[in-house]
Amino acid sequence: MEGIIAIWQRDMIKFFRDRARMIGSFSMPILFLVVFGVGMGGAMESLVASGIGTDEDFNYVEFIFPGIVSMTLLMTSVFSSLSVIQDRDFGYMREILVSPVSRVNIALGKMLGSASVAFVQGVMMFVLMPFLGISIDLVTLLQLLPVMFMIACAFSSLGLLVASLLNSMQGFQLVVNILVMPMIFLSGALFPLSNMPGWVDFIVTLNPVTYGVDLMKNIMIDVDNLSATVQEEMGLNLTFFGQPVTMTGEVFFLLGFTALLILLATLMFRRKN
């Protein structure tokens, strides 16, 4: 148990010491926020407005913001988890592996460390809310925080498994290109994914980011007061192989996903040649 805490603590100390990284990792989400929120926002709003024909109060940035926060969670989680590759190259991983800390605790500690880093980064995105004209009340916030942490855990365990499969930091760029970016684009985080071809739909359905984003949207946006058309247009009516998706279902999907990947990562840590 103390092993988990120690591994988690190391990530925390290093995160709070490295201010440059903390600031630096905001650049990407802010860029996306500007491009997709402000840039495409006007077009989306008029599109939706023409579709529903009323002047229902509709703010596209409200839809984008949960997506951008999820994206921050995903990127920070995966990148933090990939630091175990660096630990392996620079040796600290051996200090951990040669100690009596059980392999599953090593995986859990690392996962919690990355998730916590991502969680803090994600929460820090909230300082942008006043500039975007979005507000959040306390009750919503208290619902949102645990969900965000859970999402970060799912993404971190994914990063951990990928890290244990990669041999070197060289694969890093590859992971970003073939895993992280597609996961973001095919999740509905940045734009709604209604009326997509079947194979895209299939990927979207299996993509854990889809459910993370959807959970956050459902908590942050007052969905019930939206007209059915807006809900449909904004991709809020997710289905899982024909079944409508519920928030409880999404939570279980993410928890199951995390448990499975931690298990696989543990097996990888145990493997030796």
Binding site: E2, A6, Q9, G91, V98, S99, P100, V101, K272, N273
Partner: protein, 304 residues
């Protein structure tokens, strides 16, 4: 304390360790000596559970390294060949994390940390980031960290590699101090022969084979007596003379010196000085070093 039987390790087709057998007693310093690629690190990594042996059995402190990995891990400390400190953390943070990994009781941590830092003379640098440490300080900190949980066996894989001679001497001083105070069993590897001499026993390894195991003294004695290095105006002629007139174990020419291996240097030199016809320009008598031992076992010089 360490028992190795029939240990083999191969990487694909390559045989890194061949049928190793040895036994290390509690409190002993056991040296593993061999040139680059001999299989020293491979052996240490298997003994410390970091690598799975291809075949053979290894027990440490009574526990099998493949069956009771965690028991073995609790019993050992290791200083790897490569640095495994976290440079972005301070010395204290590195040590504290180690205490947690090994479950050192909370109430004892502070005292232990101070104690090990004292041993390696780093008390003043406790709050410094490790990246600000010199190579020698980092190595000493690693040794300190390896001791924090009072391991029964301490593995040191080339603990002085890359250090200047003065720091090397320091590190060995600490290691000997430890042996005296704590009775820790130590397993060390090095390719510096002079360093291996602090061991109680030495195994010489080459190309994955252990070619000799004995005390440094016996190894040197097996070579028979002393080595007399002679320089003359005409080494060729002198060598012929020595060969016909004197009783030497071995004779060779190296770097302009004639190396005579003799049973008893006193008797040899006194008679030799009187009778040698070729004029002498230099003479040196020395005890055999482990380098001579390595040379005689493998026919090659050990080098780094």
């Amino acid at each position: 304390m360490i028992d190795v039987q029939g240990l083999q390790k191969s990487y694909k087709d390559f045989q890194a360790v061949n049928n190793s057998n040895f036994h290390v007693e509690e409190g002993e310093i056991f040296g593993f000596l061999g040139p680059n690629g001999a299989g020293k690190s491979t052996t240490i990594n298997i003994l410390s559970t970091m690598l799975q042996p291809t075949s053979g059995s290894v027990t440490i402190n009574g526990y099998d390294v493949t069956k009771h990995q965690n028991r073995v891990r609790e019993s050992i400390g290791i200083i790897f060949q490569q640095n495994t400190l976290d440079e972005k953390l301070t010395a204290k943070e590195n040590l504290k994390l180690h205490c947690k990994f090994y479950g050192v009781p909370r109430s004892k941590r502070k005292a232990r940390i101070n104690e090990v830092l004292e041993i390696v003379d780093l008390t003043d640098s406790i709050n410094l980031l490790v990246e600000k440490f010199s190579g020698g300080m980092q190595r000493r900190l690693e040794i300190a960290r390896g001791l924090l949980h009072y391991p029964k066996v301490l593995f040191l894989d080339e603990p002085t590699v890359g250090l200047d001679p003065q720091t090397r001497a320091h590190v060995w001083e600490y290691i000997l101090k430890l042996k005296e105070n704590e009775n820790i069993t130590m397993f060390l590897t090095t390719h510096y022969l002079d360093e291996a001499e602090i061991s109680d026993r030495i195994a010489i390894m080459d190309h994955g084979d252990i070619i000799a195991i004995d005390t440094p003294r016996n190894l040197k004695q097996q070579l028979g007596g002393d080595i007399v290095e002679i320089k003359t105006t005409d080494n060729e002629a002198a060598m012929k003379e020595i060969e016909s007139d004197f009783d030497v174990v071995d004779l060779s020419l190296q770097d302009g010196f004639i190396n005579c291996k003799v049973e008893n240097s006193d008797a040899f030199v006194s008679s030799f000085i009187k009778t040698l016809q070729t004029p002498l320009t230099g003479l040196d008598i020395r005890k055999p070093t482990l380098n001579d031992v390595f040379l005689s076992f493998t026919g090659r010089e050990i080098r780094d």
